[in-house]
């Protein structure tokens, strides 16, 4: 059941119904007990009265039983449904019927000599009280029909249940209205949220909320804050990306126009060559942007068991052609496999960009050295090149998105180290740069080695 309203209504109705039902059962039981007690007392009284009357010889035994004849001489209004049809039988001790009232059956009311019994005579249930009158040698039995008793109890409980059933719909309506009213703040919140436009991420007013739904409001506001921060990051990223792509596009367009109007072959060839390298650069930039966007948003679990040494070997293999084209060699010492916890894609992206940077910076004929070092339970991977290194004034900004140092190569997108930084942060690792004492740059990645 997905509606709080219906859920509350059903719970309240069930609880109310259960209370009513048990009250009803209780009243019915106690009414029955009371009725039984009072009527039993009357039975006993009647028996003793008949018995004492015949003992005193005030009436003869044969007609004594008829004195209890049904409502004799009583006005009609007193002999309604409840006119108590007592039946009396007087039996001699040897078992002959001496006398009986008109309403009494022919059969013996009770097999027992004294006290109360329940018996069935001719298919009718009787409650009977008997005494033995020793002096006269007779048994006096007075009984009344269970049907009458049952009707009495039934009438009392019916009188109770009819108004209850009539009131029930009114109660249901009241409960429904109360639930409705109680849920009004929730409705108001829902209405406010439904009417919002997609870009409305202003916090909802928590102070005026009832404190039951205040946690919801607070959680919503937290979500709004996170969404708008993510959106701001995305907007900044898109506008930067657009800006960074427009410049090479402007270059390509300008070179194309130069090629179209150039009168000499040399100018035209020069322009076409630059168009080609401009397209290459733009392509690299787009790839880097996509890579950064995926590193930014990757939802991969960071719990995979990753063999970082294997990833490092694969990355170096991949880049060996690029290095060879620049006449740069990569020295990767053989080392045993090492398994870390993290995401293999992020690790590969980080390592690849660091090594690519080193290749780009390395002068022809030089060597790039990669070291693997286990310090306590940490793993440190360092990539060292013989390039010009990072200028001191640029050191703080090298991992900024789109930052390109004054000595940057024409093909750089300014995104490589930003990608590394993002990937490393997501992996919970650390990235550090330091100048090499004898020239070049050292880039180190520190991974937490505990698995």
């Amino acid at each position: 059941m997905n509606s709080i309203r219906i859920r509350l209504f059903v719970i309240l109705m069930t609880a109310t119904g259960a209370v009513w039902l048990s009250a009803f059962v209780w009243i019915q039981q106690s009414t029955r007990a009371d009725v039984e007690r009072v009527l039993d007392a009357r039975l006993a009284e009647a028996v003793h009265m008949v018995s004492s009357l015949i003992s005193d010889q005030r009436i003869d035994v044969a007609s004594a039983a008829t004195m209890l004849t049904d409502g004799a001489g009583l006005p009609e209004e007193l002999t309604g449904d409840y006119s108590h049809r007592l039946s009396c039988q007087i039996w001699s001790l040897d078992g002959t019927l001496v006398g009986r009232s008109g309403s009494a059956p022919d059969g013996r009311l009770s097999a027992q000599d004294t006290g109360f019994t329940d018996s069935t005579v001719n298919g009718e249930e009787w409650r009977v009280y008997s005494v033995i009158n020793e002096a006269l040698g007779v048994r006096v039995m007075v009984g009344d029909s269970h049907t009458v008793r049952d009707r009495l109890v039934r009438d009392v409980t019916t009188g109770l249940i009819v108004p209850a059933l009539l009131i029930l719909p009114v109660l249901a309506a009241l409960i429904w209205l109360s639930v409705q009213r109680g849920l009004l703040p929730l409705d108001r919140l829902a209405r406010g949220l439904t009417q919002r436009t997609a870009d409305n991420l202003t916090p909802v007013a928590v102070d005026t909320m009832p404190h039951e739904i205040r946690p919801v409001g607070t959680a919503l506001n937290g979500l709004f804050a996170r969404v708008s921060a993510a959106r701001a990051r995305e907007t900044a990223f898109t506008s930067f990306a657009a800006h960074e792509l427009k410049t090479p596009l402007a270059g390509i367009k300008t070179q194309a126009q130069v090629a179209m109007r150039a009168t000499d072959a040399e100018t035209r060839t020069g322009a076409l060559t630059r168009i080609q390298s401009g397209v290459d650069r733009t392509d690299r930039m787009v790839r880097q942007l996509l890579s950064l966007a995926s590193v930014d948003s990757t939802q991969n679990s960071l719990d995979a068991q990753v063999n970082i040494v294997a990833i490092l070997r694969d990355t170096v293999d991949d880049l060996s052609r690029l290095a060879a084209a620049k006449n740069v060699s990569i020295d990767l010492p053989h080392s045993t496999d090492r398994t870390l916890r993290g995401d293999p894609v992020l690790m590969a992206v980080a390592l690849r960009n660091v090594i690519e940077n080193a290749i780009a910076a390395a002068p022809a004929g030089s060597e790039i050295t990669i070291t693997l070092e286990a310090i306590d339970d940490r793993l440190r991977i360092c990539v060292m090149d013989r390039g010009p290194g990072i200028a001191d004034e640029d050191r703080a900004r090298v991992t900024d998105r789109f930052f390109r140092g004054a000595g940057a190569t024409a093909s750089g997108s300014g995104l490589g180290l930003a990608i590394v930084k993002t990937a490393i942060e997501r992996l919970g690792a650390r990235l550090s740069f330091s100048p090499r004492p004898d020239g070049g740059e050292v880039v180190c990645l520190d991974f937490d080695g505990s698995i």
């Binding site: 506008s239 657009a242 800006h243 960074e244 427009k246 410049t247 090479p248 596009l249 402007a250 270059g251 390509i252 367009k253 300008t254 070179q255 126009q257 130069v258 109007r261 150039a262 040399e266 100018t267 020069g270 322009a271 630059r274 168009i275 390298s277 401009g278 650069r281 390109r404 140092g405 004054a406 940057a408 024409a410």
Partner: protein
């Protein structure tokens, strides 16, 4: 017209240089704010084309420094940020015009001519002298009811002379204007182009001032 181009993207800077040269300008590209400040301090530019995002700062800062030292050189901003507020910021800082990337080379040339013309206080685009009327946009003109077309290099020299009629321009000044052509300057380039101009405009349109340089002849009409 010498134009300073401040742009760090090599492909774009090269395209602008070559393209503007083909349109009869004399562009000089620099890549950084520092180089731009140094070049502007020497002066002599008819206009400056400024990129905003540069490796060592913002083109807007170059502009701010120029206007602060009362350098009136007209400035054309190249911007990839298409936000209105960026354009407003640029114009308020003293830029004369802006262009969003990517742009059309012809439009860059037209806007440069326009801001230079305004800076010189001329309402008409045409340069005129002694029966010659030149349309810089087409690098052609009419002389004595004859349609004449000029090569970009001829036009660079003619325009330099037309900008200051009567003034004597030295051979090295004119060489400076031609500076930057990728084939380099042959030692007699100026003489070659003056010769070609005289063939088109008549021998006495440009006078040689011995030992000093060249100037336009006085108006005869």
């Amino acid at each position: 017209m010498r134009i300073l181009i401040v742009e760090d993207d090599a492909t774009l800077a090269d395209g602008l240089s070559v393209g503007l040269r083909l349109s009869g300008f004399t562009p000089e590209p620099v890549e950084t704010c520092a180089d731009a400040d140094a070049a502007l301090a020497q002066g002599g530019f008819a206009a400056v084309v400024l990129d905003i995002m540069l490796p060592d700062g913002s083109g807007l800062d170059i502009l701010r420094r120029m206007r602060k030292r009362d350098d009136p050189t007209p400035a054309l901003l190249l911007t990839a940020l298409d936000q209105v507020r960026d354009r407003i910021a640029g114009l308020d800082l003293g830029a004369d015009d802006y262009l969003g990337k990517p742009f059309d080379l012809d439009e860059v040339a037209a806007r440069l001519r326009s801001i230079v013309r305004r800076a010189e206080g001329r309402a008409h685009a045409d340069l005129a002298w002694n029966g010659l009327s030149v349309d810089p946009a087409r690098m052609s003109g009419t002389h004595k009811n004859r349609e004449i077309a000029f090569s970009p290099r001829e036009f660079v020299i003619l325009r330099a002379l037309l900008e200051r009629p009567g003034a004597i321009l030295s051979k090295s000044t004119l060489e400076d204007r031609l500076y930057g052509w990728q084939e380099g300057i042959e030692s007699n380039a100026v003489e070659v182009h003056i010769h070609k101009l005289r063939a088109k405009l008549g021998a006495d349109f440009i006078q040689t001032v011995r030992g000093a340089g060249y100037k336009l002849s006085g108006e005869t009409a």
